[in-house]
Amino acid sequence: MSGPGVELLLANVLRGVADLSGVDGAALRLLDDSDRLRMIGATDEDGWVLARDAAPLSGSVLSVPLVEGREVIGVLSLYTHARHRWSRSEVEKGARLGEIVVVALEAMAGGRTESSASGQVR
């Protein structure tokens, strides 16, 4: 079956996460299969620089760990071009958005697709 590539899907997820958090952009770094933290993607050029160099922007950055099970698999960074003081609720929201990114990555990583006769989980 043909369909959008995982790169496009991940780009949409990052854009969606940025929109949901109300920030200017989002960047993603992940551990690869050699345990190296790699830059994966960003919603714009600033985010790309941030993901690549972990370089400070002129604005503000909120980075949250991405956790699968008990293992940190990467970092999601949300950023604003203007200086911004992150509130506790924004940090909490960032962590929840990180959970969404982990789920999306797991879906992209693949595995069997469950089938349920009733289609119901609970």
């Binding site: 690869d32 050699s34 994966i40 990555l105 693949g110 069997r112």
Partner: protein, 239 residues
């Protein structure tokens, strides 16, 4: 413009594939819906999905009240989420228990279900279900509320599309892995047949493949068998 490094992404997904248990699309959706009410501060959330005959069915809800909302709509085939699916647009209600559009719903609902919003979840541009949220008080939904829900539904759509894509990719990966594992065996068998019968590589492979097809075996299995039988001096049946 979003930038993605495909090579780094594949390397990271490979790591994740080894580390994370394969749980399937329903589990992914369940986890992602459990997050929605915590992000937006709603009382609960749920997902409904359409059958092949376009009947909307309950898939998942974060709590008992949310489950009553989805079951009730599935039973009477009406409600804000059914309407969101049918119209492919956001549908909200200030208080579903007193909404004249769906008078049959109230008796079936948990008392905590009051304000409800539903937005379509699409795949390939077509609605396949709805993301539903409810509040345990009346609520005037604003455009920013439904915009955020649309954005969340869009992320859900990416997860569904990724699962669909990954499912096929994993099958492809299995095939590729199989080919890689047995490529050496097949090449050795082709070399053996070329020398034994003075064939070109193409002729040897074609003969090997035909024999495999005729005997309903995989080429790699036949090649392994052929090489295994070399020691016993009877490989000729392979072509």
């Amino acid at each position: 413009m979003t930038h993605i490094d495909p090579e780094a992404l594949v390397a990271s997904l490979r790591r994740l594939q080894k580390a994370a248990p394969a749980t399937g699309i329903v589990h992914h959706l369940e986890r992602i819906v459990q997050v929605v009410d915590r992000i937006f501060g709603y009382s609960g959330a749920g997902l409904m999905f359409a059958d092949p005959d376009r009947t909307l069915r309950y898939l998942f809800a974060t709590d008992e009240a949310g489950r009553s909302l989805e079951h009730a709509q599935a039973k009477v085939m009406a409600g804000p989420c059914v309407a969101a699916y049918m119209t492919d647009s956001a549908v909200t209600t200030f208080d579903v228990r007193k909404d004249d559009r769906w008078p049959d719903l109230a008796p079936l609902l948990h008392p905590d279900v009051r304000a409800v919003a539903g937005v379509p979840v699409r795949l390939g541009g077509e609605p396949v279900g709805t993301l539903n949220v409810y509040q345990d008080t009346t609520h005037d939904w604003e455009e920013s509320d439904t915009e955020a829900l649309h954005a969340y539904a869009h992320v859900i759509e990416q997860v569904i599309a990724a699962a669909v894509e990954a499912e096929e990719k994993s099958q492809l990966a299995d095939q590729l892995q199989y080919a890689l594992d047995y490529r050496v065996v097949i090449e050795r068998a082709i070399g053996y047949l070329m020398g034994k019968h003075d064939l070109t590589a193409s002729q040897a492979f074609t003969g090997l493949r035909k024999q495999a097809r005729d005997s309903r075996r995989r080429v790699a299995d036949l090649a392994a068998e052929l090489l295994g039988e070399q020691g016993r001096g009877d490989p000729d049946h392979a072509i």
